[in-house]
Structures are given as structure tokens and as C-alpha cells.
């Protein structure tokens, strides 16, 4: 299983763009990269998923360089409600495991 490494915590201010980078040096050819968000006492919520290059949806963008050894989740203009833990996961589509690391605790300050 490809192991992921993320910063333990990050601080930002309202209205700023936040970029969280995840390292996954041992990613396999058939692995996807997925990001989840979790608020206290709730289950994780899917944010975005990608395989290569750039993926964008209504809440975030995911940048994946050509070597796929890292990925960056970009949250545009964060608000206080974006304060949460963000998890980066790497898993094959037919994989039999789904490994959450400790995640990145994002604190958005007013």
C-alpha cells in the first residue's frame, strides 16, 4: 500500500487560498488519489478524486504532477466552516484496503 505523508496542521485566514500537499512516493500505476474532509463527531466527506494532471469541482481543485509522487488539494477562499481535518488517501480501484493517515488539521481564523 502506498503510504501518504501530510502536514499535521495548518492555519489560514478567511478568504485565503489553502494548499495542502500530500506525498505518496510509492504510488502504484493503478492507484487513485482521493481527499476527504472530516468535521468533529461526523463521518468523513468526499471532496475530490484524481488520477493525473488536474481535477476541479465546485469545492476544490486537485493538482497531480506527472510523476504522481505527490498531490496538492487547493481550497479557494476558505471560510471558518472549512475548519476540519483533511485526509489524503491512495488506493487502487480494485484494492482491498483504504488507508487513512492522521490527516491535516486545518484551522481557519477570522
Amino acid at each position: 500500500l502506498a503510504k501518504t505523508t501530510q502536514p499535521i496542521s495548518m492555519d489560514s485566514y478567511e478568504g485565503q487560498e489553502v494548499n495542502i500537499t500530500c506525498s505518496h512516493n510509492n504510488i502504484a500505476t493503478n492507484d487513485y488519489i482521493t481527499w476527504y474532509q472530516q468535521f468533529p463527531s461526523q463521518g468523513p466527506r468526499f471532496i475530490i478524486q484524481g488520477y493525473k494532471t488536474k481535477v476541479t469541482n465546485e469545492v476544490a481543485s486537485l493538482f497531480i504532477p506527472a510523476d504522481r509522487k505527490s498531490s496538492t488539494l487547493s481550497l479557494p477562499r476558505v471560510s471558518l466552516s472549512d475548519t476540519a481535518v483533511y485526509y489524503c488517501l491512495v488506493s487502487a480501484s480494485d484494492g482491498q484496503n483504504f488507508v487513512f493517515g492522521p490527516g491535516t488539521r486545518l484551522s481557519v481564523l477570522p
Binding site: Y32, S41, G43, P44, F46, N97
Partner: protein
Amino acid sequence: DAGVTQSPTHLIKTRGQQVTLRCSPISGHKSVSWYQQVLGQGPQFIFQYYEKEERGRGNFPDRFSARQFPNYSSELNVNALLLGDSALYLCASSLEWGFAYEQYFGPGTRLTVT
């Protein structure tokens, strides 16, 4: 549409007892996964079931077992409870098997073992 539901919400058990947690997936979802989340850590994968068959198992002892019913709902059973089993147990459903499909998580069951 209703999301993933789990019952009970909270549960207190004594060491050595057995517990059964229940999960109802989103309508149309065929796959259910179970996770254990200890305070301050990320969720740890326990099982994934698809079409009533176990398709994946994490690194948990045999005290943990699960099953999926014809209506795709699922139960997680834990025998001989230990203090270390105290955690939030999360259920997630997805359309199909495998993790390329978005996982929809329920609110979890908070288990406290005393």
C-alpha cells in the same frame, strides 16, 4: 434521499461483552465498508462487503466480524470487548466494490467500553 444510517448512536459496554452495530447504506449502493476511528486518529479500515461477500479486510483480530444482508444493510460484531475497542465506528457505502467509487459515510456509532 436518506444518507447512510447507523444504529445505535451511542453504546456503553463492559469488557468481555459482545456488541452488534448496524448500518443501512444509501439506496442503490451495493458496497458497505466499516471503519474504526480512535480519538485523534484517522479512520482505520476493518471490512468491505459487496453483494454479501467480504471483499476486503483490514488488520483487525478475529473478534471482529461482519456480514451483509440481501437488502445490502450490514452488521459489525465485536466479541470479547476490550477497553481499546472504545472508538467511533463508521460505516460507509458506495455504488460498487473498490475504492475508486466515492464512499458515503454515516454519522458513526460511539462505543465506550468500561
